[in-house]
């Protein structure tokens, strides 16, 4: 296809997606998941128009109740007349590459509601490419004109945490069970949380978990100064719909904080853009095959640096040169 035809085709798909054509949007997300370069010209046009839909990310250990929380949040947003899109990311099996994407089971009552759009995404074991694919999918959802976007991801690996860098408000979901809170502190996830939720408040140890988290959060924010956002620690019982209203109020308060502190919001947007640029550059490098066609240049260079065949600075220069 010629470049001009490419641009015309992209403009058509862009118009369809902005005009509410769900199938075009869903198909574009499939192209993104397949790392198909054909998606790029459309994404470029959609990106230019986006940026105004607030994105809330939820993460936490498997079974913490994230999908149940999303279901309850959807119910309240819908009751208030807001139209919401959800991106639900689940891990892929490292053995087969397949996946069971089961988040929708908890959100089943919204399937018949045209004001809700839910898309599941498998992590696919991409080397760092997951955050990139998720970010591009968010660009599509953003262009579709939803009032809000929610993204659910399992807080297990660095890959998943990277996704959260694309959210304006990050919710860390924990439970009283199994020392989740301690795990969170260890995983460094405290640094990325804007809100903390202890779900399953109906189970033993909830207050203790809230207290432990609060202490950890306050210890961290103490050094940030009075102008900084103080992440609240909330208690919910998602299965029973308890504490959801307070959670939505806390999300609103965080948005309001950004409105009141435009410099902090600008800093967040800059760090989002920075993370995305770095991911794009890494992806561009990975797309280049090494001499043996087996590895990408990025992987080969890492090997060289580990084996001290090349020093990091020279290696970096070599990588940058290879891109031009």
């Amino acid at each position: 296809m010629s470049a001009a035809a490419d641009v015309r085709g992209a403009a058509q798909i862009t118009a369809a997606i902005s005009g509410g054509d769900l199938r075009s949007a869903a198909r574009l997300i499939t192209r993104i998941e397949a790392a198909d370069e054909a998606a790029a010209p459309v994404l470029a046009q959609l990106y230019a128009r986006g940026g105004s839909t607030p994105i809330v990310g939820l993460t936490g250990p498997p079974g913490a109740g994230k999908s149940t929380l999303v279901d309850q949040m959807l119910a309240q947003y819908r009751a208030a007349g807001e139209r919401v899109a959800v991106l639900a990311v689940d891990p892929s099996s490292p053995f087969s590459g397949g996946a069971i994407l089961g988040d929708r089971v908890r959100m089943g009552r919204h399937n018949t509601d045209p004001g809700v759009f839910i898309r599941s995404m498998a992590a696919r074991g991409r080397l760092g490419g997951l955050a990139l694919a998720a970010a591009d999918a968010l660009t599509v959802l953003d262009a579709m004109g939803w009032d809000r976007i929610l993204i659910e991801t399992v807080g297990v690996g660095q890959n998943e945490i990277e996704i959260l860098r694309h959210a304006d408000t990050v919710i860390i979901v924990q439970t009283p069970a199994g020392g989740d809170a301690v795990q969170a502190v260890k995983a460094g996830i405290l640094e990325v949380g804007d809100l903390f939720v202890v779900n399953k408040a109906d189970t033993a140890g909830a207050d203790r978990t809230v207290a432990a988290l609060r202490e950890a959060v306050e210890f961290r924010t103490h050094a940030l100064g009075a102008e900084a956002w103080q992440p609240p620690v909330l208690k919910t019982e998602a299965a029973g719909g308890v504490g959801i209203r307070e959670l939505l109020q806390a999300i609103d308060a965080h948005h309001q904080h950004f409105r009141d502190h435009p410099k902090q919001f600008a800093a967040r947007r800059r760090s989002q853009a920075r993370a995305r640029l770095v991911e794009c550059m890494a992806a561009a490098l990975r797309a280049r095959r090494g001499d043996d066609e087996q590895h990408d240049i990025f992987d080969d260079t890492i090997d060289d640096v580990v084996a001290r065949r090349c020093d990091p600075q020279t290696a970096a220069k070599r990588l940058v040169d290879s891109m031009s």
Partner: protein, 142 residues
């Protein structure tokens, strides 16, 4: 470096609650490298179709354990045509009676996997109707 995967939406319609079969199928498909979007039980035709559109699934799989599947399947395929998604192949599993197969095929059902069907058959069907290949480790799923 496109990474094409087969995406399969799995659901039960209506009041059917025997979800063990479909959960087992979901795991077997995952072990073959399929991305299964699992909707569970108690779905309506409209809900399944909305999910099908948003998930851009390659195939829709329905599991039945009650005798009402002719009615439910007919209604679903009808609504799929109206929604413009009749191009997505539909497969049925569970307690499907062999006598009903001609009627189901007539309606437009592409794959029927009643009692005794094996995973190899289902995997071959999926690759055939999607034109994508399964790369999963088949040895771990029997």
């Amino acid at each position: 470096m496109a990474q094409e995967k087969i995406r399969c939406l799995l659901a039960m319609l209506g009041t059917d609650v025997h979800s063990k079969g479909i959960r087992t199928l979901a795991q077997l498909l995952r072990d073959r490298g399929v991305e299964v979007v699992y909707l569970g039980e108690h779905n309506t035709a409209d809900g399944v179709i909305n999910a099908l559109i948003a998930e851009d699934a390659d195939v829709l799989g329905l599991s039945y354990s009650t005798a009402t599947y002719l009615h439910y399947t007919h209604d679903l395929l009808d609504k799929m045509r109206k929604a413009g998604v009749a191009d997505v192949p539909v497969m049925l599993g569970g307690l499907i009676h062999a006598d009903d197969e001609p009627a189901l095929r007539e309606m437009g059902v592409k794959g029927i996997f009643g009692p005794g069907s094996g995973m190899d058959q289902i995997a071959a069907f999926l690759q055939d109707v999607t034109g994508k290949s399964l790369t999963g480790d088949a040895s771990s799923s029997t």
